[in-house]
Point group: C2
Chain length 110, copies 2
């Protein structure tokens, strides 16, 4: 996921292409979430990948990270305004992917 892109499609795939990034985005669309809320919502993710993907999404400007200097510490992740521009794109991708899964299911059932 490090290589440079010539085609803007690859840019988007690069941004969303981590194994858990679509799930992370999905959960953040609803409301901001704390780190360990995301861990519970996505039980299979390792915390290495969760924090790594969150840092990458933050660097792309898609996710905001808010630290509340309380004890115990509280960190909240939310979709940035810019990150919200991804929502309609994600919906189109999702619709096509959903249809594609159904198509494959039907052909395997026939």
């Amino acid at each position: 996921m490090i290589h440079q892109r010539e085609c803007p499609i690859e840019t988007l795939i690069h941004v969303l292409g981590g194994k858990w990034k679509p799930m992370i985005l999905w959960h953040l669309i609803g409301s901001p979430k704390r780190y360990n809320e995301l861990e519970k919502l996505i039980p299979e993710v390792s915390q290495k990948m969760l924090s790594q993907h969150l840092r990458e999404l933050e660097q792309e400007g898609i996710v905001d990270r808010t630290i509340y200097p309380t004890v115990p510490p509280k960190v909240e992740y939310s979709l940035s305004d810019y990150g919200r521009t991804l929502i309609p794109v994600a919906e189109v991708m999702c619709a096509w992917g959903d249809n594609h899964n159904k198509r494959k299911y039907e052909e395997s059932a026939s």
Copy 2:
């Protein structure tokens, strides 16, 4: 790229996620292409990856492979009707990715 997906976005990323797949699709949108035309259009791709990606796109029903039993052999790859349903999706992805690249360019220039 083998793991199963729970989220349809991952399905689309799986379909388009090979390193050269967006470029292959891009070239096939214009007109059908022969194997070695694609090699020339995408000079950096290895022939292993080109043929592997073409086989995967064919299995997903996105690309049609037509063999003309001539001597020397001629094989033509084209977007299937179903593959054309990807075009509007790709355009949305492309627009977002293009904007994202510009955004990153501007922030690095400031």
